[in-house]
């Protein structure tokens, strides 16, 4: 068994153990959850640092037949696209479990659901068989519904729980149709990306089929990421979810959709890439500009974070749409950075909500005085959110802009720069409103002891470290991104601009 399999296995085992622990030992529930996510964090860190830098292919591969009759395998492996996400996925799981001490009812059930989400998301990141990628990702659906409904916030959380569940399932099902289409029509009778890639090289699908399948995957997985105009589930859903759920969702689950596009759609369907990237480039401006604009008008801290996270996803899509080495590397970098950033934001807002009982910006102010640690972390997170150098998100956004410049039309580039400006406006205004200014008589206090600070620090410190030394990530991402670009541009259609080919040159 590969070390990788531990990542989904440990949390799910932990969930089963928690189910069996009798209520008399209820303190053990949280202990087991923390222990499992903690061990998982160690495993992920080991994987991150033992990963062989400079290799584009899959490492630590394990392959077991699951349903041999129809060509489905439990095939796992890690490459540059997933190694960083695995690390932050484990980090976010650990931090989310830690902050869940706020849960006071049905704790057993809560930790079981949280561990199932964690195991599922890590499982989908290591899957090289697209069936399992989908399978693991869907494990989060029911827990999300239950968590928002049982422990969520706000009177309308029931409606929101339904909205997020139905929206995400529709997206997932559309993606599933795309995946099954790939499975059924390629003739390879497998959903294993390695086999499929080799097969499709010699037996390419007709261009029209590729276009349809790519469209299904793009809008299906895109919905899971919050691609405009299929994004409206996200801010409301995160605002209604309990802290840990919002952290897992905004932090890492959301990235799985974009990750799946990089795993499946881009390398396997080059004709589809040629047809759809222009449209993707326009749609992602919807995220960057429209969602950014909406974020400016928000008067609730969580809705502000939710919309700003959609704007960041716009940059991820922009990087994908550039189909260039530096653009895709940047996109993965943003995914990693934003996982830390978004979960940090929701962890902080969770603390503020717990202490003050609301997240209305108009009733906030001077938080820095009452909660110096939380306030400082919040300022750091919000600065990272508007792309200040020194945080990992800056490196990613910069790389995406470099990638976009030569490959996409000038107005897209200009609009993306405008998006950066918008991000600066709402984040700085948010900082002024929440952290500084007169104390409006908020109640509540800071994190009382140093142990309480751990979940925030395990998210904030890597965000800064990766910002100072982005090469740690870039060196790992680059060779794998180069393979994606190479395959995505395998057969440039005559209509496609000549520029991407130039941009892809360093890949060879």
């Amino acid at each position: 068994m590969s070390t990788l399999s531990l990542l989904p296995l440990l949390p799910i085992l932990g969930a089963l153990v928690i189910l069996l622990v009798p209520a008399a030992y209820s303190a053990a529930w949280r202990g087991i959850a923390l222990g499992m996510t903690g061990v998982n964090l160690l495993v992920a860190t080991t994987i991150f640092f033992t990963f062989h830098v400079g290799i584009g292919g899959y490492q630590m591969v394990a392959n077991h037949a699951w349903v041999p009759a129809i060509g489905l395998n439990y095939h796992v492996g890690v490459d540059g696209l997933s190694v960083g996400l695995l690390l932050v996925g484990a980090l976010v799981s650990f931090a989310a479990t830690w902050v869940s001490s706020e849960i006071k009812s049905h704790e057993r059930f809560f930790y079981v659901l949280l561990l199932v989400i964690s195991g599922g998301v890590l499982g989908s990141l290591i899957s090289l068989d697209l069936f399992f990628l989908y399978f693991f990702n869907e494990l989060a659906l029911v827990p999300t519904f239950l968590m928002i409904g049982i422990w969520g916030r706000g009177a309308d959380r029931s409606a929101i729980a339904f909205q997020i569940t139905l929206y995400l399932s529709l997206g997932a099902l559309v993606a599933l149709v795309g995946l099954i289409g790939l499975y059924a029509l390629s003739g390879a009778n497998t959903l294993d990306v390695v086999t499929l890639a080799a097969w499709l090289k010699t037996h390419p699908l007709p261009a029209s089929t590729q276009t349809v399948l790519f469209g299904l995957l793009l809008f299906g997985f895109g919905t899971l990421v919050g691609l405009w105009p299929f994004h409206s589930w996200a801010p409301a859903g995160y605002a209604a979810a309990p802290t840990a759920t919002a952290m897992m969702h905004a932090g890492i689950l959301k990235k799985v959709g974009a990750f799946a596009l990089l795993r499946a759609a881009f390398p396997l369907l080059p004709e589809g890439v040629a047809q759809w990237t222009r449209i993707l480039a326009i749609l992602c401006l919807g995220n960057i500009l429209y969602c950014g604009w909406v974020a400016m008008r928000q008067r609730n801290l969580n809705l502000l974070f939710g919309n700003s996270s959609l704007a960041h996803m716009g940059f991820v899509f922009l990087g994908l749409a550039s189909v260039s080495l530096i653009g895709i590397t940047g996109a993965v970098l943003i995914m990693v950075a934003h996982a830390l950033l978004a979960s940090l934001e929701y962890a902080l807002s969770g603390h503020i909500y717990r202490e003050t009982g609301h997240l209305e910006l108009d009733r906030m102010g001077g938080l820095m005085r009452r909660m110096p640690f939380i306030g400082a972390a919040l300022v750091a997170a919000m600065l990272a959110g508007c792309g200040v150098p020194g945080f990992a998100s800056f490196a990613g956004e910069l790389a995406v802009m470099f990638g976009v410049w030569p490959t996409l039309p000038a107005f897209v580039v200009a609009a993306a720069f405008g998006g950066l400006l918008i991000g600066g406006i709402y984040m700085l205004r948010g900082i002024r409103q929440v952290a500084h200014g007169p104390d409006v008589g908020t109640t509540g206090g800071d994190v009382p002891c140093w142990t309480g600070r751990i979940p925030y620090l395990v998210l904030l410190v890597p965000l800064i470290l990766f910002g100072v030394a982005p090469y740690v990530l870039v060196d790992r991402i680059r060779p794998s991104a180069a393979l994606v670009v190479e395959r995505a541009l395998l057969k440039p259609s005559p209509a496609a601009p000549a520029a991407p080919a130039v941009a892809a040159a360093p890949a060879h």
């Binding site: 009759a69 129809i70 869907e138 494990l139 029911v142 049982i150 099954i180």
Partner: protein, 495 residues
Amino acid sequence: MNSSLLAIEFLVVVLGLGILLADLWIPSGARRGLAYAAATGLLLVLTLHGGALAPGDDTAFGGMFLVDALANYFKTLFIVATIAVLLISSGYADRLDGYGEYVALTLFALAGMLLAASANDFILMFVALELVTVTFYVLVSFQRRRQSSLEAGVKYLIFGALAAAFMVYGIALIFGSANTTNFYEIASRQAELGKSPVFVIGLLLTLVGLGFKISAFPFQMWTPDVYQGAPVPTTAFLATGSKAAGFVLLLRLAYSVVPEVMARWSHLLLGFAMATMLYGSFAALAQRSVKRLMGYSSIANAGYLLLGIGATNVTGSTAILYFLSGYVFTTLAAFAVISRVTVQDDNDDISVFAGLGNRSPLLAAAMTLALVSLAGIPPLAGFFGKFYLFKAALLQVPTSPLFLVAVLIACVSVVLSLYYYFNIIRVMYWPAQDAVDRPVTVPMAVGISLAACLAGILVVGIFPSGVIGLAHEAVAGLGTPAPEMHVQAHHAAAH
């Protein structure tokens, strides 16, 4: 003639008669024991079916009765479903006057299903289905003191008679044009017969009859009323055994008897499939009666299964077998919970589920698993079944883009179904003010059947390999032309 092939059917009928006799001596308080005895007997039959009595592929009664891998697969499924239904019904015995007869009739219905799985002739098919349907008339209206149960029985009687009339008329036309009712003989002449309008109309009318059985749109109107009115164990049996009996015959017709005609009708079948799933899902949205909701859900599921019939490829038939296996476990688990939660006040309004997460966490978790599997979410059986059916349909996309449309419509239906399934989960878990704080009792027999069904959902879902292997073997013989010697033998036997 080789009547030893009917050993299983024979044993089941004898068991039923034995129960009827024993009923005369058993005091009314101990009638539950009859269900346990019947279930144990069936367990024995199941072991024999898999072991000592496992018959090789052969025919009996002049080619009317056929034993092959497909028949054996479905027979296993029917017996398993009946055991679970009997155990569920044992917890319901107080509400069923003359419970011994209920058990015996359930066994007779099972005998009809077993015959249907082996039917190789339109006549036997009709007789088998009538045996199932006629016993169900009684099983549906078994709660004689409850008006809704009687009403459901009358409705089922009227619609069942109508369906039988359609089917028998269709069979007459088929016989008139083909001069035979044997499946093998028709299969060998399907190219010529497919051109005869009389034959085609006859076939269509037969399909209408089967459409009633599987509750496909537009022949579904009896389903919600009957599901709601019938006693819960009967509803569970209707949703699993009776539906699967319709599907085994549909499979045989579509894949073995007249595959060429069916391939021509793939658009028609897809149309029925799309209408069925949309109708079922849209109508279920507004339901408050859980049994009625399960009725509409059963319609929607018939729609997904029809996708597999429309696909007319091996993946489609395998997928139908797999899906039905998972569906039987899932539906029975759901009905086992429903039977316990609704039994106290004989009320199946969704509000009786309020607060079940606190009142009985295990039952609530079991119901959640069943509903999540019905909704088709990994890692449970329902997900892989839909995955497989969708694949079967998408394999046909090169022949017609309508298959892609049908699969996308199925996705819409699945999302709608998430709403009504998750609505029950919401009622069970969301903090509720008006929840009755009354614990739900689960008798041991019901608990065993529930646990077995849940294990089935999980095992079939997480390790589909075994069931798929069996399903593959079961459908392998479908569509291959009838062995020549058999056809000859039937002629000899007929004259």
